[in-house]
Amino acid sequence: MTIQEILEKLPYAHPFLFVDGLDHIDSETVRGHFTFREDMDCYKGHFKGYPVTPGVLLTEVMAQIGLVCLGIYLVKDELPEQGMGFGLTETDISFLLPVFPGEKVTVFSQKVYFRFGKLKCNVSLLNEAGKEVCNGTIAGMIIRK
């Protein structure tokens, strides 16, 4: 499965698509990136007069790239065409640095296991300077509607 095919299979659309592209994927790891545009709505209120990317959105980037893209790659052709979702089951993430509007972040994810439909990964998110912004484990299961 090519990177382009994975991106087309992603069950997200604007304003909740948090994957710009993937740089690498295999059955154990994935690396991808996303840029937080300065005009995103979240910055109007997080925080008032001091825009900082919310941790939940950093988590979302980690989940969409690190878990969902890898999950799609792992199940390949078994995916339904429509009505697919990905159920987040656990997150355990530490946040180390802030991400400001306009920053590009890179996510690296390594599979811990994919068994019985559940995918668990160690995920790390870096800023453009290569500094680690957040890291932890995320797990989820594919949901068919």
Binding site: T89, Y113, F116
Partner: protein, 84 residues
């Protein structure tokens, strides 16, 4: 390995995932993982992976789907251990 020992070992594995402590304290053959112990289906996968590691066995999809209570878990573990 007798049943009591097996249940005690299962109890240790289940402990981090069980939300109902009273049911965990009173665990027996009839305890249901989801209804009694309130383990969610995602954590049930972790329980099964921990069982595999503890007993050095491999649990297939079919066994996984049956492994919903202590009784069936013991049956499956004993069968896998007997296979060597």
């Amino acid at each position: 390995m007798d049943k009591e020992t097996l249940i005690a070992q299962l109890k240790e594995i289940i402990k981090p995932y069980a939300k109902n402590e009273e049911a965990l304290a009173n665990i027996d053959e009839n305890t249901d993982f989801i209804n009694d112990l309130k383990i969610n289906s995602a954590n049930l996968v972790d329980v099964i992976l921990d069982v595999e590691e503890k007993f050095n066995i491999v649990i297939d999809n079919e066994s996984m789907e049956r492994m919903l209570n202590v009784k069936s878990a013991i049956e499956i573990i004993e069968a896998k251990l007997a296979q060597g």
